[in-house]
């Protein structure tokens, strides 16, 4: 076959070549036009600033005056800054309360809807998810109204059931404020994890449950012996996301209390934010140093959780 000349190919070759060249050029042009704006924007607005923050953390700089290179001084200051440690402590408290609360509530809700076949199943599902699409501003404002001492829903509700605590300003009391920021976060986050868990549960084979029912296993046993063990991988991801999210998050607290009263709700992100953009303070160098620390903590937490959870897995 090879020796036979192919007249068609022979004639078409130069034209084909040209066409190929053109297609190649078009492809290159297309790739360039498609990637350049977004990738360039990403490099400029995300990657470059992230790298730059390393350099900023070594400066004494308010953004206007000539920056002064101070080496690791910002980091030294940070270690001696009690406010940093207080803020970090608050982060830890929020992390160890919000994460289990969200996971626990969403698993229970998901289990109930997945296994009981209630009527109004989809109504519940939609309703539970709804808070998740509300903005942090909306959720936080809503809850700040609920918490108001004089006219808030919470105190009015408590009075209704016979608990009169007067005009207790939940967000204005040093002792209560930090704890009061927890329910809005849980309220806003449960919907998302509930839907994730619900979907994961629907993939668990029904036969497992049927066998358990035959052996007379109660709901609690089924939940803890079948559902939760089978969902460990997805729960692990949820825990990781929640922990990191709580550690990074500060917008809700900015809106609810802005760290007050007298710093009792300050978290590390908010502290950094206020040092950089707060009224009258623009200590960009120091704030960047705190940001670096936050970055290190987040990465370390992620790695630690990954390691910890994979080790646990191998025990099975």
């Amino acid at each position: 076959m090879n020796e036979l000349p192919n007249p068609v190919a022979h004639v078409a070759a130069p034209q084909n070549q040209q066409w190929k060249q053109k297609a190649k050029f078009q492809k290159r042009l297309f790739i360039f036009l498609a990637t350049f704006p977004a990738f360039g924007g990403y490099m400029l607005f995300t990657l470059y600033p992230n790298l730059l923050s390393v350099y900023y953390s070594l400066l004494d700089w308010d953004g206007i005056k000539e920056p002064v290179f101070v080496g690791l001084n910002n980091f030294k200051d940070m270690l001696q800054d009690d406010y940093v440690w207080r803020a970090l402590w608050h982060n830890v408290l929020l992390m160890v309360t919000i994460t289990p609360l969200v996971v626990f509530i969403s698993i229970i809700l998901a289990y109930l809807l997945a296994n009981k076949g209630y009527r109004f199943h989809s109504v519940f599902k939609v309703l539970f998810f709804f808070p998740n699409i509300l903005s942090l501003v909306a959720v936080s404002l809503l809850w700040s109204f609920v918490y108001d001492g004089s006219f808030g829903l919470l105190n009015a509700g408590l009075r209704l059931i016979g608990v009169d605590i007067g005009n207790y300003y939940w967000l204005g009391e040093k002792k209560a404020a930090l704890w009061a920021t927890i329910p809005p976060s849980v309220w806003g986050a449960v919907g998302f994890y509930f839907v994730i868990f619900l979907n994961a549960m629907s993939t668990i084979p029904k036969s497992l449950y049927e066998a358990a029912i035959l052996e007379g296993a109660s709901h609690r046993v089924r939940l803890f012996k079948i559902t939760i063990p089978l969902m460990t991988p997805i729960i692990r991801v949820a825990v990781l996301f929640l922990m990191l999210g709580v550690f990074k998050g500060f917008e809700n607290i900015l809106i609810l209390t802005n760290g007050g009263p007298s710093g009792s709700t300050d978290v590390i992100g908010l502290y950094m934010f206020n040092i950089a953009f707060g009224v009258g303070i623009h200590n960009y160098g120091y704030a960047s140093a705190i940001g670096m620390m936050l970055f290190v903590i987040l990465v370390a937490t992620k790695l630690a959780i990954d390691k910890f959870t994979t080790n646990r897995d191998s025990e099975y």
């Binding site: 498609a34 607005f45 923050s53 809700l109 939609v126 699409i133 903005s135 501003v137 953009f277 940001g291």
Partner: protein, 278 residues
């Protein structure tokens, strides 16, 4: 046995109902108070409004500049959404279905952003925006938000595009279609479902975005809805005009409520789609 089961069932049901009440009650309460006069509200939280004060909504609209904030928000969300979604779609296509040098590297660099907490870049980003004269302008945050590629959306869409058969492009090429035509006439229409999901999520994220507009927009005439409501709530403490504030909060939630009613299935499916991948 049967008896016990019903009791347990009732307990379970109670849990579902309790959570429903927890979700709904604060929102219903705000709605209900938003229709009172301030006097009625101060008298008792529980009283019914004598006359429904729909004027509170008008009041909020004017006093807190919600009118202009809404216009700003629609402009900001609309433009960023169109540019951002288009760029995400075209990028997902190029990065998942075309072979070229540097593709893997590019993908890796973008995926790096999943490890970077946004807060870290805040300060240099602010200085950059300031030096580019993009602060205090809606154009500035539109540029920032439409061109900051998000690995999350890219992943959402690339999974979708990968599932399309490879023959599509080949047969298109044989018919003499240019790559532009292949993308716009074949890939885009077939990926509509994925693109729409990304667009919905971008829309929610942009509408709900607080920190960016809060940092970059200083002039009240340029506030987006979230910033306007936050500033209104800060002033409110001194004015004790609660009902208008309630009305304002309702106004910010209404677009979300409608969006959710019409698109809930898509939103809930999309949420899990992204999470399973992440």
């Amino acid at each position: 046995m049967r008896e016990r089961r019903t009791i347990v069932d009732t307990w379970w049901y109670t849990i579902l109902l309790m959570w429903s009440v927890t979700i709904l009650f604060p929102m219903i309460w705000v709605f209900y108070e938003s229709l009172k006069t301030n006097q009625e509200f101060f008298q008792s939280v529980w009283n019914l409004p004598e006359v429904l004060q729909w004027t509170n909504y008008k009041g909020a609209w004017q006093k807190y500049g919600i009118g202009s904030a809404m216009v700003n928000t629609v402009y900001y969300v609309g433009v960023s959404l169109v540019i951002g979604t288009f760029l995400t779609a075209i990028n997902a296509y190029v990065l998942t279905r075309l072979e070229f040098r540097g593709r893997k590297l590019m993908w890796g660099i973008i995926m790096l952003s999943l490890f970077l907490p946004g807060i870290n870049a805040l300060i240099p980003q602010y200085i950059l925006m300031r030096d580019l004269h993009l602060t205090n302008s809606l154009t500035g945050i539109i540029i920032l938000d439409s061109f900051s590629e998000s690995a999350f959306y890219l992943m959402m869409l690339s999974g979708f595009m990968q599932s399309l058969p490879k023959e599509l492009e080949e047969s298109g090429a044989i018919d003499g279609a240019s790559i532009f035509q292949i993308f716009f006439k074949i890939i885009m229409p077939l990926s509509t479902a994925g693109i729409v999901t990304v667009a919905i999520f971008k829309c929610l994220a942009l509408y709900n975005n607080f920190l960016g507009p809060f940092i970059y927009l200083g002039d009240p005439g340029k506030y987006t809805i979230g910033v306007a409501m936050y500033q209104a709530s800060q002033i409110m403490q001194y004015k004790a005009d609660w009902v208008t504030l309630f009305a304002g909060l309702m106004i910010t939630m209404i677009p979300l409520i409608f969006m959710f009613i019409f698109l809930q299935r898509r939103i809930m499916e999309g949420a899990t789609l992204g999470a399973v991948k992440g």
